[in-house]
Symmetry: C2
Amino acid sequence: MVKPEAVDLAKSYLLLNHGPVTLVSSAHGDRRNVMAAAWAMPLDFDPPKLAVVIDSLTLTRELVEASGEFVINIPARAIADKVLAVGSQSGRDGDKFVSCAIGSRPASKVAAPLIDGCVGWLECRLIPEAHNQTRYDLFIAEVVAAWADPRVFSDGRWNFADEALRTMHYVAGGNFFATGEAFAV
Amino acid sequence: MVKPEAVDLAKSYLLLNHGPVTLVSSAHGDRRNVMAAAWAMPLDFDPPKLAVVIDSLTLTRELVEASGEFVINIPARAIADKVLAVGSQSGRDGDKFVSCAIGSRPASKVAAPLIDGCVGWLECRLIPEAHNQTRYDLFIAEVVAAWADPRVFSDGRWNFADEALRTMHYVAGGNFFATGEAFAV
């Protein structure tokens, strides 16, 4: 895996702006987890914030609420099977890093890890909003560090020359779209 | 333009699940507006809810807060130039339906119109959340009716055979990605 390069916080929203599917990684004490989340979006530019939906029954929810931290990882198409797998199992039934053969490396400012096979990473600190979390499963966070695979994102621009490194958009039932042709108007 | 076909509310999240750029249409009294919004996502399945960011300075914000209604329109690639145009002008400077040559038809349950050249439409009723609106420009709504262009979405499935009817994902500065290849794992 290529070493992640730091992304300016002011440009970090670009990792999520086009609506790719994400993985949410979390850690607290000696427990860690990773789940898939299609419902994530930027919320502000400066300081960068984002919003993500985390179901109340998930282990991720427990770890995020306990630690106040998580990472939004943007997976490449090459690991679509792992995205589906971690979205179909519960961390309560065993460590998905083991069962799904998910590699990771430490993040810089949060305990949650950066997931291998991704092309963008947003380290997040929760902005506690009890009403949103309880009523809508909606979590708001500030992005405190951001990273990208320089083969596909550098100088604030995506470049999906390698098909295997394209980001993905989730439909349902194991169906995805690859991020397609770039164009400008 | 092909006549929109009704989409079951239980499947309406599929119009937005893959993270396409959207147009937000609104109306109140004798005023109407349309703006571009990349920061929109589903929030729940049943009843279907969604979240969208609407900047505090926009005319859309004023009309949405006054009417409690809006439509999330999913534009096709063929009107990418109009998406950029309505995202670059303010409705306070003149009627964008006129200046950008935007056609529309009436919605079924809200006063905001369905925008021509789109392939999906989500009629929304605001769930007032003053704190979210004021602090984060974040609006939560229930989807009360949904429509799709049957050439590209029917029986709960997208089919982007026609390149001009693909949905789009917004990056920044007039740069988009088309929704790309469909695949399943």
